[in-house]
């Protein structure tokens, strides 16, 4: 029971992640019409288009004049994360998050964290990769990141059959397990960087209550984007940095209820 409570958001997130894949899979295998396509572009209830705005950005840079459905779909997704979800895509939808979370969990169990060597990659590198994706798309006339995206490979792999893409996913897993803590999602992935940028001002946010904090620092230990929790134990305020994936791990590990999800505007008024 205690375990369940301590993992309530993680369980919920896995449920959402798996349900999304299952709906896509069912659409392909059994003709379900709830959610068709994949994370690149999909059709919800046969009417509402959804599309990956980062892919759209690359394709536009590549010079493609895209169809209405993709444009509308990308607008819907952008609005949703910009206004509400923040970087929630990473915590709640992306299948690679399951892989990197498992790697991270194993790191803790095997205590690999304790032999950590000097960090060689900076967390801002994802924004450079993001810029590079756009630049290379423009130069080569193709969506550059989509050619190598482990997210796309895993997502399609789970829906249509995995193939050699499995090697790329294994690479990400091993990198995160032995190479670097939160190496892929926290440092390299340009899609995560993209959602960090557009989700910066979203309403759903984690809030810290300094008065309750006992400085156990379990939250910063578990957080995949540690720097965003810089205020813990110091000031009561919202986690405002876009890199927070809204995964809620910090909220559930805190034994003192010093962290909780809140809505930015409402809280400000009260």
């Amino acid at each position: 029971m205690k375990w369940l409570a301590k993992h309530r958001f993680m369980i919920l997130r896995r449920l959402v992640q798996i349900t999304v894949i299952l709906l896509y899979f069912g659409a392909n295998a059994w003709g379900w019409t709830i959610l068709e396509g994949n994370l690149g572009s999909s059709l919800l209830f046969k009417t509402i288009p959804l599309a990956d705005p980062f892919a759209l950005l690359q394709m536009s840079a590549a010079g493609a004049l895209l169809g209405m459905d993709v444009l509308l779909g990308a607008a819907i997704i952008t609005l949703f994360y910009a206004l509400i979800g923040g970087r929630g895509f990473c915590g709640w939808i992306c299948p690679v998050n399951i892989v990197t979370d498992v790697a991270n969990g194993l790191r803790r169990i095997l205590r690999i964290n304790e032999i950590e060597r000097r960090v060689i990659i900076n967390r801002t590198i994802r924004y450079w990769i993001l810029a590079l994706s756009i630049a290379l798309s423009a130069i080569f006339g193709v969506a550059a990141f989509e050619f190598i995206s482990p997210i796309g490979m895993l997502n399609r792999g789970l829906i249509f059959g995995i193939g050699f893409g499995g090697a790329v996913i294994a690479g990400v897993f091993l990198f995160d397990l032995f190479g670097m803590k939160n190496g892929f999602c926290g440092h390299l992935c340009p899609l995560g960087g993209f959602y960090s940028l557009i989700g910066r001002f979203s309403l759903i946010r984690v809030k810290h209550n300094q008065e309750r904090c006992t400085l156990c620092m379990k939250c910063t230990e578990i957080c995949p984007e540690k720097p965003v929790l810089h205020m813990v134990g110091k000031r009561s305020e919202f986690v405002v940095q876009g890199e927070c994936t809204n995964c809620g791990r910090c909220v559930e590990v805190c034994d003192d209820e010093a962290l909780h999800f809140d809505i930015r505007l409402l809280a400000r008024k009260s």
């Binding site: 659409a27 392909n28 068709e36 396509g37 994949n38 690149g40 572009s41 999909s42 059709l43 288009p49 599309a51 990956d52 892919a55 759209l56 394709m59 590549a62 010079g63 493609a64 004049l65 895209l66 169809g67 459905d69 993709v70 779909g73 450079w128 990769i129 590079l132 630049a135 290379l136 130069i139 080569f140 006339g141 193709v142 969506a143 550059a144 989509e146 050619f147 190598i148 796309g152 490979m153 399609r156 792999g157 829906i159 249509f160 059959g161 995995i162 193939g163 050699f164 893409g165 090697a167 790329v168």
Partner: protein, 270 residues
């Protein structure tokens, strides 16, 4: 003489070195990535779904959602997996395994959200201006016959491809000629009419030889190009090109060109 100890790096120098390091690594990444993109988008030995834009445009438009794949009732279309030698995640088909059955209602094209599959490329306008989907407009590729291996060219009776073709007698015809070797039989050799063939691959699938002796190649590979300087003078439509042609048709004017070639031909000397 003892070696002088170097002074610690100044702030400024440290900053510059870090910037240089970042720049260097970014260039390294960009070069590797570019090389891969170049490689991955260079080959084009695969067949795209009906209504696909020309390969270069197709690659920049397709968002790799798989909606076309899901719509195909024959499981013809596949989304490329890493290692398939097709840009990863894009739809293609292998005619010898499952050809395109040339569905009358072309279910794969309308769901495409990005415009990579374009209805206008498989639409026919009736005389009254009404537009209807017409799969015979499709140009997925063109069938090519290896006359050395096709047993019909050996004199053995086989018209499997001809009968399999959904456009029998239009896209494949049979040429009969006398078999001089036996003196009493005929060669019944298949011939593809390139303008009509849609590249569906039904013929390739049906071919009886161990490896198909008729196979579909993408247009860009199978087709030659005569260039604008050859004109079919006996074809009224083609001759119109003379009037509309711009560029390349420049006329050099020299003192001698006072007299036109035609005048010269018509002068008494001839």
């Amino acid at each position: 003489m003892s070696k002088e100890k170097l002074p610690p790096l100044s702030e400024r120098r440290r900053f510059l070195l870090q910037a240089l390091q970042g720049l260097g690594l970014a260039t390294l990444g960009a070069l590797t990535w570019s090389a891969y993109l170049d490689e991955a988008s260079a080959s084009s030995l695969y067949l795209r779904p009906p209504g696909a834009l020309a390969e270069k445009d197709f690659l920049s438009h397709c968002i790799r959602c798989g909606l076309c794949v899901e719509a195909c009732p024959y499981d013809t279309l596949k989304l490329a997996r890493a290692g398939d030698n097709v840009p990863v995640g894009t739809p293609y088909f292998t005619a010898r395994m499952i050809p395109c059955y040339m569905c009358k209602d072309i279910p794969c094209v309308p769901p495409c959200p990005s415009g990579a599959l374009n209805e206008s490329l498989v639409t026919k306008m009736a005389k009254d201006g009404k537009e209807t989907l017409d799969i015979t407009q499709a140009k997925m590729g063109v069938a090519v016959i290896d006359a050395d291996q096709c047993i019909a060219f050996w004199g053995i009776q086989c018209d499997a491809c001809y009968r399999a073709c959904p456009l029998i007698n239009e896209a494949i015809v049979i040429d009969a000629s006398r078999n001089e070797r036996t003196g009493k039989h005929a060669f019944m050799a298949p011939r593809v009419i390139g303008d009509v063939c849609t590249g569906c691959g039904m013929c390739e699938k049906a071919c009886v030889t161990e490896k198909a002796s008729i196979f579909v190649l993408p247009l860009a590979i199978a087709k030659g190009k005569a260039g604008s300087n050859y004109i079919k003078g006996w074809d009224e439509k083609d001759e119109k090109r003379l009037e509309t042609q711009t560029g390349g048709g420049a006329t050099t004017v020299t003192p001698v060109s006072d007299q036109k070639a035609v005048d010269y031909l018509n002068s008494e000397e001839f």
